[in-house]
Point group: C2
Chain length 694, copies 2
Amino acid sequence: MQHNQQFFHAHHSPMGALASFTFGEHGDHGGMGLELGAPYEGNIFIGYQDGDGVVNSFPFYKGANDQSERYVQKDDSSTLTERTFSEVERDYRWASDTFSAPGISLKVLSPFFDIPDPALAQHQLLKQASCPAVYVELTLDNTSDKDWTGFFALQGEELRWNKLLDGDANGMVGVTCRNNIGLASNSKHTRAFSHFSVQSALSKMGNNECFMLGPTAGVMIDVKAGEKVTVRLALGFYLDGNVTFNRAMQYYYTQHFTGLNDVLAYALRHYDSYAAIAERADKELLASSLNAHQQYLIAHATRSYYGSTQWLFDGTQSVWVVNEGEYLMMNTLDLTVDMLFFELKKNPWTVKNTLEQFLTQYSFYDEIFDPANPELNFSGGLSFTHDMGVSNNWSPKGESSYEMAGLDRLCFSHMTYEQLTNWVLCCGLYISKTEDRAFATEQRGTLIDGLQSLLNRDNPEPALRDGIMSFESARTEQGGEITTYDSLDHSLGQARGNIYLAGKSWAAYLAIAEVLNQLGETEHAAIALQAAKRCADKLTESFDQELGYVPAVLDGHSKSAIIPAIEALVYPYQMGLTEAVSETGPYASYIKILKSHLKYVLNDEYCLYPDGAWKLSSTADNSWASKIFLNQYVAREILNIPEAFSVEADAAHQRWQTEGASKHACCDQFSSGKPIGSLYYPRCVTNILWLDEK
Amino acid sequence: MQHNQQFFHAHHSPMGALASFTFGEHGDHGGMGLELGAPYEGNIFIGYQDGDGVVNSFPFYKGANDQSERYVQKDDSSTLTERTFSEVERDYRWASDTFSAPGISLKVLSPFFDIPDPALAQHQLLKQASCPAVYVELTLDNTSDKDWTGFFALQGEELRWNKLLDGDANGMVGVTCRNNIGLASNSKHTRAFSHFSVQSALSKMGNNECFMLGPTAGVMIDVKAGEKVTVRLALGFYLDGNVTFNRAMQYYYTQHFTGLNDVLAYALRHYDSYAAIAERADKELLASSLNAHQQYLIAHATRSYYGSTQWLFDGTQSVWVVNEGEYLMMNTLDLTVDMLFFELKKNPWTVKNTLEQFLTQYSFYDEIFDPANPELNFSGGLSFTHDMGVSNNWSPKGESSYEMAGLDRLCFSHMTYEQLTNWVLCCGLYISKTEDRAFATEQRGTLIDGLQSLLNRDNPEPALRDGIMSFESARTEQGGEITTYDSLDHSLGQARGNIYLAGKSWAAYLAIAEVLNQLGETEHAAIALQAAKRCADKLTESFDQELGYVPAVLDGHSKSAIIPAIEALVYPYQMGLTEAVSETGPYASYIKILKSHLKYVLNDEYCLYPDGAWKLSSTADNSWASKIFLNQYVAREILNIPEAFSVEADAAHQRWQTEGASKHACCDQFSSGKPIGSLYYPRCVTNILWLDEK
């Protein structure tokens, strides 16, 4: 790896704790963060003082930050020579992240695995899955003839630390802050310390190892001349009590751990099993046929997904939340539908859990109107809110934190139509992948209502339906709906007449038809299939021979070419409805024109950047990495378009993260490779689909 | 008031909640802060949109801070003309702070009163005293012919708000954040709102009044043309569960209030009684014979004291903590001894509570050594730690957060000798003011041990004692002790031979003698009096005729002149031992030389700044306001020195706060009127003594 590609921030997170040990960028803030939408603004000091007294560190901190001058009239601190390691290697795998430099190796494990269904699984497995810890192995190889002092320390301006005291320590050595974060080791080589800085501690300013006024703390590691010492550390997170508001819930891990010290002790006791899990994940990804760029992107996306997950307990049962990265919106439904593929592979119960939350708390029946006649409302039907709240604040029943009335196709408007397709598609895929018959039966009425709602939004008058959305939700108060591409231009941002969204409604009709057929609701299923056909036909006939593609918005004006015209093919394909996406099946013409469409636009005249990176819309320099990954899968696996197999594109997309977004630990939204929003984001796990490619 | 004197930050705090609504500075951050060592870094928007659409506000915010561009691709927000009020009057009283501008008046009440002894008092009185709220009266006087919309709003980058929902609201209108802070009204004129900013809410960007993604929230107030509306608001604070670490404790108010909404409802329900309490305090100070500068300084100090107080509950009983301002050290004993006079007036039980905490958790018996022979230890005796911890982290038993071994008379060294005198003086004054016989009896052994410890630190060999400290605690590990003037030069900073500290030991001997005599321990009392005499004689004979004063450190080198030579006279005087401080009593010579000393140095050649402000040491440009106030009292009330009655000095000391430290809501440590440490500090309530001056 080149210098500028090896230093980038990455999440290192337990599953479901909305917690992250974020580090890896050069000379920037990082640390252990709880419930944050960005890397913790602290500093990380890892290295050793060699026999000449020189302090050698990895560059994981922003300048020196010694607060002693706040208290001391004169500068009495000794001077130490400091140096950051010049030769640093990084080995970034699915569940391990290893930095090596002369004499030192730092391996950080973020093991992830299938979280068992909490309604069914054994206590022990749930404890294992919910343990809010990250695992660190620090090796110091002192081949010199003088003793070294190694250190692993965290600093944060407002942090004050407690040393683990004998009574609570279970033989561990370590430090904690407010019982919320802490680190511990059970190695005999370690000593806990807290001080103004690593430097002030090493220079023995005062003889207290644990000086409580200092914002820096961690462990010192004694390494004698000629000795090689490996120390294991657990980094633990813990938030007690009710952490959500409007509806009070606790972290699920509080059901299994009495507090931070319990977490630290458990993590150290089970280090071997977590390390084995991490190693299995590393090997699985390495053994795939994906190129190094793709493997990087999957590893990076996976970390950022888990860093955003929040496994809660409402007093009766588990509540699964994925927070929307920097925005911290809870269970944003247009993200759920993208992260679906990952969750269905790992823990399908979380999909069901989220669907049920939407149904009981965040569904509604609205009215709709024709924008040509906004005063006249019609019955609309079932749909779902954009999200469930923000920053641990559950939004009121039937409302999202994001959607605002009175906006006409602008950011923060309602996403009623899109969220309806999203819920239906999640439901269809969940049933198809899990064969959860009981759940399917329960959703009979919902799916029938969803079908009617989709039809009404095409046109309340059946004879006037053309297959795509034409009516707006009255919740916009005479405004206009948008799509998940909310901050893009109207090529993808507006909902009405949008071919991306139309594709999703086609897929939603198919999903409804499939499940209702299984439930014996053949009449409704037939209506759904009829609607799917109508939609596909409308899209097919909208292919503009002159342009060479289907314009993004079927309003007679749009000339934008967009990649996501093909996006929705993923749903029937993943549901096993291969006929539906076949060039010889019932939607053959639609599939063929999508293929022509994509072939025509997948070049740098329309939808590629000069370096081969994908550009979702020809008219906007604004792309979402997660959506690119999803559309790449469709283009390669379903449409088999040769231009979509491009190592150059993968390399470019890796650079977006490692160079463009190196401070943001996985970013979704880019403009020419520069991050412009959706930082610290969970959505890029759409790339898990690549592992399925034949 | 002039412009530059009317805008300064002030705490507005409940008692014992370590919480503050800090505001008042022009164009700077402020807001509702919990457990902070500085003003909350938010913004406060208070004003009204007039009939022409212009938004008029008080200047309590740092620039505009509209986050909408974080989400919106283009700038779609409407433009509004904004204006800050140009004519603002401030009326700053003991418990009310009123800002007036054309059409608007804002009155913020921070009522304080005697907190009853929780071991004895009625539930109802304790509830009243612990209610963690601040009270706001906002009046909008719309004499125009167009409707106005008033607003009171708080903003903080990471804050996300919930509207009070009907079920929980008890008829209130308001907003809360994480159930930790919130504001509510029960006026029919108010509507709750949350949005990106006041501007985006007023410009009706979207129709949602409570947009959950916005960091700004509060109430809008409808004021029709010609109408005058007064709205009462409660600002509430609440932190649930264990808030301290190492030893878990909760806020005392959690014993009386179920949560934030309960606090808000109670505060509004009892608004009248709190307003009456505030008014009584205002009147009391106004009725005093103190000049306006002195009244200002008392009001300012009182606010900052309460903002630092933390009334906890350990599961069995109340635990009183005063946090050390920006440093957040808990119950720093050399502050306790200064705030003692205030606490003995208001709630003497807090003094007893603190003394008992020190005794059970933070006392020890050490060894001592002669600095000339540091390898040889002698038995020292009883003393106390500097503090009890920091930032809600209790330090381990017998240790402070501050004191570090291995330092020779540098900041962070041990303060063993000074803290021993401090505990003894607090104990003596508490017993003398309260006549708490039971407590006195309990302290018999402690006071005898304290006496022996003081004597040993003079010299373990009785024959060699000269009355002042000569031996260092072995806890310094062959370093040297310091005093509360820790960051001053050695004139006040070093403990050994220091005449400020020697004065305190004289007073400590007197206090011990007084209490032990009352307990019938006449033999020990006589030893104490003998020691007091020895100390006074030593100081008297150290008067340097050539210099014209007693040099600060009796080491044969020091030439510094210090005001605090006289400081310790306050203790016997306040204990009623008027003979001891009389020019005709048993220490007549000592008192006379102190008088000569002060008269000689109280001029701008030695210990006055050119503007009349006091300078504690002739050799250091570093003064503590709290200590100045204390020494002013001694100089005027006890020594009756005419030069100490100076309105010019009071005016200068007011300017230190209103101009120098306008951002720091009461600062203690100044260099030529510029704040250099001890910001946001509770200690300045030493000036409560001024109210006793005859």
